[in-house]
């Protein structure tokens, strides 16, 4: 080590200091703090101090019908949303991968919803899916002679509508990632497959899909993680209703933490969410095989 190494170390740390100060205050301290809070009874409304209650919050959670409903709703949403957005994204990537006139227009129009702010998209769809017979969705149904539906007010339809809106909002992003990955598949592979007599479908099934596995893995993992954290569209379009038909984990966390200000209970919800995400990611990693993907 040279004599300037101490000064050099200090300079190195100074360069890191601002970023890591923020991480410490807003990520590292909170992740430990919320773990501790999850074992306390801590209401902000009464200005009380956190009171240690052991596992009481977690035990209560698993007896709380609304929480259990929120878990099921979140899983239901994830099952509706993840495969649909991925499959649609993949199909249009496949269709828009060849060069043909108008391709860029189609790509662009499918991608635009991705950049529209979530809040704006949610309000637009709230108006379009309004139960009123003159809403756009119901007028379209009317063209086929189908009576108006309460897209967001019918407990059976509400979550389906939310998932549909989110597919609309995000499939362009999945398409974009698939397109980028398809471009990196060597053309020779398709050529030699053709020499062996492979047709369009066979090329897709035996070359494209297997070679896109890393992208699919990435998209499945991130989409599942995102879907378990859905909040904004539900907050805006249904408020978790009708009843608790669309209350998801984060919506319930918001209710408990920032409407009722039960910080201990809400922290327990957040840690259950965290645990679920860790387990899900782990399972997916196993499911896709052990190859190094990231």
């Amino acid at each position: 080590m040279k004599s300037r190494s101490l000064k050099d170390t200090i300079v190195s740390y100074l360069f890191c200091a601002p970023a890591y100060l923020i991480f410490t205050i807003f990520i590292f301290v909170p992740i430990i703090w919320s773990f501790i809070l999850s074992f306390t009874d801590y209401s902000l409304l009464t200005f009380g101090k956190p009171e240690f209650v052991g596992l009481a919050n977690y035990i209560e959670l698993f007896k709380d019908p609304v929480f259990l409903r929120a878990v099921l709703n979140t899983i239901y949403y994830s099952i509706l949303y993840v495969p649909t957005t991925l499959v649609i994204g993949f199909i249009f990537a496949l269709m828009l991968n060849d060069d043909f006139p108008g391709r860029n227009f189609f790509r662009l129009s499918m991608f635009i919803p991705v950049v529209v702010p979530m809040v704006v998209a949610s309000i637009v769809w709230m108006l379009i899916l309004s139960a009123h017979p003159t809403s756009l969705a119901n007028r379209l149904l009317g063209l086929f002679g189908i009576p108006p539906k309460g897209w967001l007010t019918d407990p059976k339809l509400a979550m389906l509508s939310v998932a549909m809106v989110m597919v609309w909002k995000t499939f362009g992003y999945k398409m974009l990632l698939y397109l980028a990955a398809m471009q990196s598949i060597p053309y020779e592979l398709y050529e030699s497959a053709e020499l062996d007599g492979a047709t369009g479908w066979k090329k897709t099934i035996y070359i494209t899909i297997p070679l896109l596995k890393p992208t699919t893995f990435f998209l499945v993992v991130t989409s599942v993680i995102d879907s378990f954290q859905i909040f904004t569209p539900i907050y805006i379009m249904t408020g978790g209703g009708p009843g608790y038909a669309t209350t998801t984990l984060v919506n319930y966390l918001y209710e408990k933490g920032f409407k009722e200000f039960e910080m201990g209970y809400a922290s327990a919800i957040s840690y259950v969410l965290f645990l679920m995400l860790i387990i899900l990611t782990f399972i997916q990693k196993k499911g896709f095989g052990s190859e190094e993907i990231f």
Binding site: D8, V11, S12, C16, F26, I112, P117, V119, L176, S267
Partner: protein, 281 residues
């Protein structure tokens, strides 16, 4: 190769793509035409307005005055611009500084720091949000623009991305400058940063988009109409607006326009920014 497909298949493809594109754009087209049509009750909204007016925009602009006489939609628009530009500039600065240090310097604890930056990527925002709120409260930043900005002026993702980019720059450039007696600040600012302009642009777009669209955090900490970013403002008014679709859609277009304009002019960078998290190298 590319034998031309049968024309009937090509026609089918065009029909399907046009159909899907139309339905993808339909909500946005409907939003625009609703905002341009005079308010005449629900039935009158059609995809092509029969009569065009900008009255809705003027009314939407002034609507927040009903709640706070000093606030227009412009105030909220400005808040959004302030918040997203400060977040973008500061996080680019801090992330690239840390990235530079982690990629280019040798010091004890470097690997641990890198591992810490990576670990922030695994921690979901909602798991830390409650203590984040409590800390922001203790710092006295609830209901301030500073409180909207501070937690997001650096990101593990940014540190990671800048580190990777700096690693790919040949050492010789830096060594030549060091022999000439240049210090770290000079090397970072004058030599390294200009070499990673694509990463800067990519991250800038990513950050602008992210901070402009941010919703949960403002919802938690902002109560004053004068401090609301425009996205939050829209939801506050949606209850009252609900029968005034013309006004509401006009407000939404005002909130969306900057992002759409940015997207259409900087498409290439947008796409890079949005795919940056997913693709290697």
């Amino acid at each position: 190769m590319r034998k031309r497909k049968k024309p009937i298949l090509l026609l089918f493809k065009y029909l399907l793509l046009s159909f899907v594109s139309f339905f993808t754009l339909l909500p946005l087209i409907w939003m625009i035409s609703t905002s341009l049509e005079p308010d005449k009750g629900l039935e009158s909204y059609s995809l092509i307005p029969k009569e065009v007016t900008f009255r809705n925009y003027v009314e939407a602009w002034n609507y927040p005055k009903l709640y706070d006489p000093n606030v227009t939609l412009g105030t909220m628009f400005l808040n959004s611009i302030i918040v997203s530009s400060i977040i973008t500039v500061l996080s680019l600065l801090f992330d690239s500084m840390a990235g530079y240090s982690l990629a280019r310097k040798r010091f004890p604890g470097r690997n641990f720091l890198f591992w810490l930056a990576l670990s922030t990527l695994m921690i979901p925002f909602y798991v830390v949000v409650i203590p984040m709120y409590l800390i922001t409260m203790k710092l006295g930043l609830i209901n301030t623009l500073t409180g909207l900005i501070i937690p997001f002026i650096s990101s593990g993702f940014g540190v990671f991305l800048f580190r990777q980019t700096f690693l790919s720059i040949p050492l010789e450039l830096e060594e030549a400058a060091r022999i000439d007696g240049a210090g770290d600040l000079f090397i970072y600012w004058k030599i390294m940063l200009p070499l990673v302009k694509p990463t800067i642009a990519t991250m800038a777009i990513f950050k602008v988009l992210w901070s402009w669209n941010m919703f949960f955090w403002p919802l938690l900490i902002i109560q004053d109409y004068s401090k609301m970013p425009i996205n939050l403002g829209l939801t506050i008014f949606r209850g009252q607006y609900v029968t005034k679709w013309g006004l509401l859609t006009a407000g939404m277009i005002i909130a969306t326009l900057p992002i759409i304009i940015l997207f259409l002019t900087l498409q290439k960078w947008f796409i890079r920014g949005l795919t940056a998290g997913a693709l290697k190298g």
